[in-house]
């Protein structure tokens, strides 16, 4: 009897499959971006104000920035498996990506806070403002102007880096496209679609960020 394979071409359900992958990519980006930004602001501020904390956290910052994300994902994956606890690849991705986002954001925050002229802070303090009043009303707004476009750049970098979590098995956009490539063998259209997807997300935002930057500079 002749053996007949099921139709391997595209189905309509594939569109839904890709859409879910795209939503997963966005979910990971937004969640890791949110956690990483909050963590990075706190870490960056602490590293700015306290030499002790700066020295203590330097190895963490240094190591996270000097090791490929791919290896961080694999290492955390193995470590969590060895600990014997059940975990999902989603949370694994969130842990690693937020940690990396925290580190890079903290460096931007530290640099921006450091760029606030010290005379402004002295002036605010001599007007009777407290430390946190000065921080929230003087330093933070000025630092935001300096760091905003760099932060947007980091967020876009994070969105592009989410493509890497496909390696540990979380089915985001890249992975779902790969699965479809394996089945349909339509490599080029699917791959180009993947590129276009990231480009459509990142390009307008980076243009807007450049526009903002020009507005701030002038």
């Amino acid at each position: 009897m002749q053996f007949i394979l099921a139709d391997q071409g595209f189905h309509w359900s594939d569109a839904q499959f890709l859409l879910i992958g795209a939503l997963h990519t966005l979910l990971v980006s937004v969640l890791a971006g949110g956690i990483g930004t909050c963590g990075g602001i706190v870490l960056g501020w602490l590293r700015h104000v306290s030499t002790g904390i700066r020295v203590v956290t330097t190895p963490y910052v240094d190591i996270t920035r000097s090791i490929p994300l791919l290896i961080q994902l694999i290492l955390v994956n193995s470590a969590l498996s060895m600990s014997g606890n059940a975990f999902s690849t989603f949370w694994l991705s969130i842990i690693v990506l937020s940690s990396s986002m925290t580190v890079v954001t903290s460096e931007v925050v530290r640099g921006s806070l450091g760029s606030v002229p010290y005379a402004y802070i002295r002036a605010a303090r001599s007007l009777g403002m407290g430390y946190f009043q000065t921080l929230f009303h003087i330093s933070a707004p000025l630092a935001l102007r300096t760091g905003l476009s760099a932060w947007i750049g980091l967020l876009l970098g994070l969105t592009r880096d989410t493509a890497l979590v496909s390696v540990v098995g979380y089915v985001e956009f890249m992975k779902s496209a790969q699965i479809l490539i394996s089945r349909t063998n339509e490599t080029l259209p699917l791959l180009l679609g993947v590129g276009l997807f990231y480009f459509v997300i990142c390009y307008p935002v980076s243009r807007y960020s450049a526009h903002l930057q020009r507005g701030i500079a002038s």
Partner: protein, 220 residues
């Protein structure tokens, strides 16, 4: 760690493979940064001048390189080009993809440096009888390099980290070699921890090494 015993001796047994992986990683990093720099210089000038086919071309190059994942660029060079019937080795794929990526990022970095060089310098150089090429090579770009060197070093470290993507298309660079070696024993944690350490040392070597080279080169 419930009842896990570490076996480090397996890693030392695979040391020769890891070392050849290190060599490949260094090769890819150095070559992709070198070619990327050479491509980024004309790209940044074309992007800065902005008009004509060259300006459009370099704008497209820079935006695509900066706004798509590096993983996509590597897959595109390997699977995408492969689908067109052109089969290139995984080494060449990674090298071309990373060169493309580096050129895009470095061009944008150089553009920031070009803005910082006063436009009178180019005009002065041209009126002294230098050709466009001479003026950029001997007057403009030395200044650009001294402006952007921290960003340049960062990009070189990024190139090192991105070379780890070679593993995903079967290249035995450091990550790929570690992955191949651990697949015999499934001691992935031990292998990748050592690999991470090697990457850290390589990244530090790039930072300190390029700082020394730049200081030498820019002192004159």
């Amino acid at each position: 760690m419930s009842g896990y015993t570490f076996y480090w001796s397996l890693v030392w047994d695979a040391w020769p493979e890891l070392l050849s992986g290190v060599r490949l990683t260094i090769e890819i990093t150095c070559l992709s940064v070198l070619f990327g720099t050479l491509l980024a210089m004309p790209l940044s000038v074309a992007r800065q001048n902005g008009r004509g086919v060259a300006g459009k071309f370099s704008a497209a190059w820079i935006e695509v390189a900066r706004n798509t994942p590096t993983l996509f660029q590597v897959y595109m060079m390997y699977f995408g080009v492969g689908a067109l019937g052109i089969n290139i080795s995984s080494f060449a794929s990674v090298l071309i993809a990373l060169t493309f990526n580096n050129a895009g990022y470095l061009a944008e970095i150089f553009r920031g440096g070009l803005v910082a060089v006063p436009p009178q310098q180019l005009r002065a150089a041209r009126s002294l009888g230098m050709s466009q090429w001479q003026a950029y090579r001997t007057v403009i770009f030395p200044q650009v390099f001294s402006h952007v060197f921290p960003a340049f070093i960062n990009q070189a470290v990024w190139a090192l980290l991105n070379s780890s993507l070679g593993m995903l298309i079967g290249l035995r660079e450091l990550t790929g070699a570690a992955n191949a070696a651990q697949s015999v024993s499934f001691r992935s944690f031990e292998f990748f921890l050592v690999t991470a350490g090697i990457y850290y040392l390589l990244a530090k070597a790039i930072e300190f090494g390029s700082r020394i080279v730049f200081r030498r080169a820019l002192r004159t």
